[in-house]
Amino acid sequence: MHIPDGYLSPPVLGLAGATSLATVVAASRRASGALDESRVPLMGVMGAFVFAAQMINFPVAAGASGHLLGSALLAITLGAAPAMVVMTAILAIQALLFQDGGVLALGANVLNMAVAGVGAAAWAFRLLDGGRRRRLAAFAAGALSALVAACLALAELGASGIRIPAGALAATLGVFSLTAVLEGVITAAVLAALERLQPTLLERPRPAARPLLSGLLLASLLLATGGFLVASALPDGLERLAEVLGIVGLERPLMAAPLPDYEAPWLPAPWFRKAAAGLLGLAAAAALCWAGGKWIAKWRNA
């Protein structure tokens, strides 16, 4: 799901943009530092591959058909950091030349699909891969990447104040779950076919997996996404949580009126403040998780 321009509120745009810019800069540093220069043409050609592969339809029940989304397959074949860079480039081309997703909203779309989607796929695959479980790992990577990206997109829309009726939200979530399952099945099928065709392609040295850390990160990502989605759907519960945590008092001076024009009649101010509180809470939780992860990694390496 590519979010177009004009949908997201400035705080959501800013936070998503800053997060994805920082991640993509770090990922491109890691991708160009760890890999030799032959990988730059490879990354470009693989980006074009994702576009081209979407022309090949996969039959689903009742005459409907789907196609590959690609972020999980990229994460598995290229590794997480290069796949994030390639996915970002794909999203930028789509925004500029295909009118698929907005240019200002690029930060949010990169966060959903290139950062969270690729990250979730890479973690899931690394966690589960091994011997006969490869098909399961590929399925989990594909399904998770699509699900995490879609839930994040819905959460961003919710945080921007777009209210979706409960019935429509349920239908949307149902469609997203089906898409996620389909992406998982396609990723697993393509990987199985690739192993029959050219078994050497996927054999590359992997860094030793850290199942505990990866599991923790994956669980926190899922929790944050799901919890945030529920919170956006039920803002009253979120407000209570904000009161309990004392965020409400904190968030008021911060959100006083940086953009008074934006608090337009069609944007109910309390909702806006609640959404901002939610985002602030999410950012704090993410920072805590990151710091905790760093500490665990240091402690384990010591």
């Binding site: 030349l97 295909f98 069609w266």
Partner: protein, 206 residues
């Protein structure tokens, strides 16, 4: 590239290559200025609730650049299926004013992006973005994607035809193996591209 195949696989994106090679004051303007102006217009569209008045100016640069106005208006309409879906949901949720904004804001934003890309070749936009500080590796990958999009789309189209002849409309496996063939040959193509670049004296990319 075979012209007929090009029409089939990519009438949607090759049109910008045609438009952006024109000669006009707008085409000659520094790409950085055009990029910055587009971003400013997008911000205005996103933040100002009456920003549709800016669209009254839209025909001016289009006519100045001798671009086909109806084709540009139609091109930007690609955003409408998605935005009308969420506008409908918002309307149903009891917020008609927001529903209207969800409908016209993406369209107005797309109009400005279409104008930028119709008046500026992609490589100039990428060079401008690099000079404005965008991550270079991402821009290089974008360049390669654009260069090989047509080549790989043509190959995918042939694979698709072959797969349909083998019953891909019924068999998941046939589609999966077509994508796997495309992936493996993309790897080989990338290795050939790299050797060709080295043979022509390309140094490190960074």
């Amino acid at each position: 590239m075979d012209c007929e195949v090009a029409q089939r696989v990519g009438p949607r994106h090759f049109i910008f290559d045609e438009w952006s090679r024109g000669h006009s004051p707008l085409h000659r303007l520094d790409a950085r200025a055009k990029l910055a102006a587009t971003l400013a217009l997008l911000l205005a569209t996103s933040l100002w609730k009456d920003s549709w008045v800016l669209l009254a100016l839209y025909p001016l640069p289009v006519l100045l650049a001798r671009l086909p106005l109806p084709a540009l208006l139609w091109r930007a309409a690609l955003v409408l299926p998605f935005s009308s879906l969420f506008a409908l949901m918002s309307w149903w949720g009891g917020d008609p004013q927001r529903a209207m904004a969800l409908l016209w804001k993406p369209y107005a934003s797309a109009l400005w992006v279409v104008l930028l890309m119709a008046a500026t070749p992609l490589e100039d936009v990428l060079a401008a973005a690099a000079r404005l500080g965008a991550p270079r590796l991402v821009l290089e990958v974008m360049h390669f994607i654009w260069r090989y999009l047509g080549v790989l789309s043509e190959q995918a189209w042939r694979l698709r035809t072959a797969a349909l002849a083998r019953g891909a409309d019924r068999s998941f496996e046939v589609s999966a193996s077509s994508v796997a063939v495309l992936l493996a040959s993309s790897y080989e193509r990338a290795a050939r591209v790299h050797r060709a670049l080295l043979a022509r004296g390309a140094g490190r990319f960074h």
